[in-house]
């Protein structure tokens, strides 16, 4: 590692810190319905949308009605994407005459994009037409991110409102986040990416014959528009198989910087929005700091491991699965960022990372995608951990725990535990199932502990709605497509439903003014406690599984053992 590498990392972190309050303040205005600079530009469109769809923007609903709307909308999105893929050959913009997608792959992909996971069992350039990529996938990229924000907003309202059952209007939250935040940001990013060389066209694939006479079919398509929202919405599903390692998705080091920043931009800024909306900016920064510390710690460990010598090869900084233009530092930084956020796009092949770098990525996945995490989902996941932390702190001092003036009681803690257990169950049980069945083992690309890591990573990625992969695993089989599909559903809605139940219950409560006995949740003591709770819950649950994969692989690698 050189000073130059450190400067690049510092620059990235600095940009993230500076943009957080800027975008965070803007989003606060959007979600509270206040005046902001895009209202004169796009406000008419918002009003038209409500008029056409018959939504009354002033009508708010309780958590159950809100959830019903959210679920209906998501199921509908799933069904449409599922069907579109299966009739692909009859649809337009299919320049390569790609056939219909098999049912199990359609199921997997539809769930994947609806749940903001964007796991890819398929290779974009050889499976999906421009029509599906655009009208199927790009749409879900937007609305799944907006859904995450909507859930977060109900939680914020649950915390900040008192003695009410009204948590907002799902259609309004969905429309506003799409119209004022996701579309404008994607618009700017997409054009910047095209300037760097990301393609955006509807022409058929191009046949090239190089100077040696060998030919190459070069895929085309409307990539930039999808890649922009794929990064900003923490979706992560690539237009091409190699995702953001593909030169058409991520052509230059600058496009790499922009895409990497876009991954964390909204999740980080939402911490500021959160602080603003619950009435304490300090509270938002506290959450930001917790996430920041966890990210830096992971990054340091991962960089150290990737630059260390691999005794099997007698080499360090190995370039297997990495691109020359990004080098080791930018590949490792991306791998940490994309697993912190539940983005899941990759600019290097995680399967080929050193065991400890793979471990860092897996830890980021299994602790529930709360280090910035997905758009909306990262923060509501973090609030779950905050509830557990104040509960544990309350037990220690023998006082009813409170968070921002709201009493945390049995119901909230029960729901929080469900939200923690649902994804954990998927990771451990599904991994175990795949490890002992022939159909599970058939997909492996590596043997020994690394093979187990491939399975564990897969289900951690599915349950955390991340979507990145140890991509050697051939997951495009009926077994994996179905199992991963259910993993993603449980990982998404097994958290959303308890979170909204908590929001609904908190909204009904009174706000107790802070007293001398109040346990503060915006100081360094709390930061440390929260980090400890996250690591202990993650550690206790997953240490045995992780030791069978990356940890034992690291130890065996030190003795030069191959598999």
């Amino acid at each position: 590692m050189t000073t130059f590498d450190l400067i690049q990392i510092a620059l990235f972190l600095l940009a993230l810190i500076l943009l957080t309050p800027a975008l965070g303040a803007f989003m606060t205005k959007v979600f509270s319905g206040e005046k902001h600079f895009l209202k004169p530009v796009l406000g008419w469109l918002e009003r038209i949308i409500y008029r056409v769809t018959g939504v009354n923007p002033d009508e708010e609903s309780n958590w159950k009605t809100y959830l019903a709307g959210l679920l209906t909308f998501n199921i509908l999105g799933f069904l449409i994407l599922f069907i579109l893929q299966m009739i692909q050959s009859h649809l337009p913009f299919n320049t390569e005459k790609l056939p219909n997608v098999p049912w199990h792959l359609s199921f997997n992909t539809a769930v994947s994009f609806m749940t903001n996971t964007n796991w890819q069992s398929y290779a974009g350039e050889t499976t999906l037409s421009y029509f599906i990529q655009m009208i199927g996938l790009t749409v879900q990229n937007f609305v799944s991110a907006a859904t995450g924000i909507a859930v977060l907003l109900t939680l914020i309202r649950g915390v900040s409102r008192k003695t009410t059952d009204k948590l907002g209007n799902f259609w309004v939250d969905l429309t506003r986040s799409t119209l004022y935040i996701l579309i404008p940001l994607s618009f700017v990013l997409a054009l910047l990416l095209v300037s760097q060389g990301v393609i955006q066209n509807f022409t058929p694939y191009v046949k090239a014959t190089n100077i040696e006479g060998t030919s190459q079919i070069i895929p085309m398509g409307p990539a930039a528009s999808q890649i922009a929202i794929k990064q900003l919405g923490t979706n992560g599903g690539g237009f091409f198989n190699a995702n953001s390692a593909h030169p058409f998705e991520n052509p230059t080091p600058f496009s790499n910087f922009l895409e990497m920043l876009s991954i964390l931009l909204i999740p980080a800024a939402l911490t500021y929005t959160y602080g603003k909306m619950v009435g304490s900016v300090r509270q938002g920064w506290t959450v930001f700091v917790v996430m920041f510390i966890l990210m830096i710690a992971g990054l340091a460990i991962s960089l150290h491991s990737e630059y260390a010598t691999n005794p099997v090869f007698g080499a360090h900084s190995m370039m297997e699965g990495k691109e020359t233009r990004f080098g080791v530092t930018n590949s490792v930084l991306w791998s940490v960022v994309t697993t912190d956020a539940s983005n899941g796009s990759v600019n290097s092949m995680h399967d080929s990372l050193s065991p400890v770098s793979g471990l860092v990525a897996m830890v980021n996945l299994v602790i529930g995608e709360v280090v910035y995490g997905g758009v909306g989902s990262g923060l509501y996941g973090m609030v779950i951990f905050i509830i557990l932390t104040v509960f544990i702190a309350g037990l220690m001092v023998g006082r009813t725990p409170e968070y921002l003036g709201k009493k945390i009681e049995a119901f909230e803690v029960q729901m929080a535990i469900i939200a923690v257990l649902a994804p954990s169950t998927v990771i451990l049980l599904f991994s175990a199932l795949a490890s002992i069945t022939p159909s599970g083992l058939a997909g492996l690309n590596n043997s020994g502990p690394h093979g187990f890591s491939e399975i564990l990573y897969t289900f951690a990625s599915a349950a955390g709605n991340n979507g990145s992969a140890f991509a050697g695993l051939n997951a495009n089989t009926v077994f994996y497509n179905i199992l991963i599909g259910f993993g993603m559903l449980i990982g998404r809605f097994g958290v959303i439903i308890p979170v909204m139940a908590i929001a609904g219950n908190l909204a009904k409560k009174k706000i107790t003014p802070p007293s001398s006995g109040t346990f503060h949740t915006d100081n360094w003591l709390f930061v440390m406690l929260l980090i400890a709770v996250i690591l202990i819950v993650g550690g206790l649950t997953f240490f045995p599984a992780l030791s069978l994969g990356p940890i034992v692989e690291h130890l065996l690698m030190q003795s030069g053992i191959t598999f």
Partner: protein, 191 residues
């Protein structure tokens, strides 16, 4: 039932907005402002597409610079890496073989170190770049194959210097050289 109707209507409106208008608008602007990039940064000579500046190609001829190893052999349909892990026996064997072949092909001593990217496959399988060191390593072989006189070899060396891309804005990424563009210029070296 009301929820379902609203769902359908909102879904339709958002599909039109994000699935049709947004990508078409980006396409229109991209084609207008950055037509070269939007269409794949193609290199066209005499009306024939030789390839894309961004997509790596396979070069086998000893007269040309060679690209990195590729898990998909530079066939973009589909792109991808080897996904071999850090304790993979198969990868170990590949690396030993590649190291030996490159040493032999370039008449390097047996213990000569080869730049990492030349013995390990890229993530996309389409990496268009190698490091300047990896290009320099191949200069002797190419000069010999092309019967270059010393002046031409000097031209080749300065070509490598000129085509080496520095970190972008002096800040981002690694020093690198585009193999395809380098080979195009290589063919233009005359006495």
């Amino acid at each position: 039932m009301k929820t379902l109707f609203i769902s359908v209507k909102i879904f339709l409106v958002l599909t039109i907005l994000t699935g049709i208008i947004y990508p078409l608008l980006i396409t229109g602007l991209a084609q207008l402002i950055f037509p070269h990039q939007a269409n794949g940064s193609m290199v066209i000579q005499n009306g024939k597409v030789l390839g894309s500046e961004l997509i790596g190609q396979n070069f086998n001829n000893r007269k040309y610079f060679w690209s990195r190893p590729s898990a998909v052999n530079y066939n973009p349909l589909p792109s991808g890496g080897s996904n071999y892990g850090p304790t993979s026996k198969a990868l170990k064997q590949q690396v030993i073989y590649r190291e030996k072949s490159l040493q032999e092909a370039n008449s390097l001593p047996q213990n000569a170190s080869i730049p990492s990217e030349m013995i390990f496959a890229s993530a996309s399988g389409l990496d268009p770049h190698i490091s300047p060191q990896a290009a320099l390593m191949q200069v002797d072989r190419i000069s010999k194959e092309r019967n270059f006189i010393p002046k031409q070899k000097e031209k080749l060396l300065s070509l490598i210097t000129n085509l080496t891309e520095k970190p972008q804005f002096r800040l981002f990424g690694e020093e690198r050289i585009n193999v395809f563009l380098l080979n195009l210029e290589l063919d233009k070296i005359t006495r």
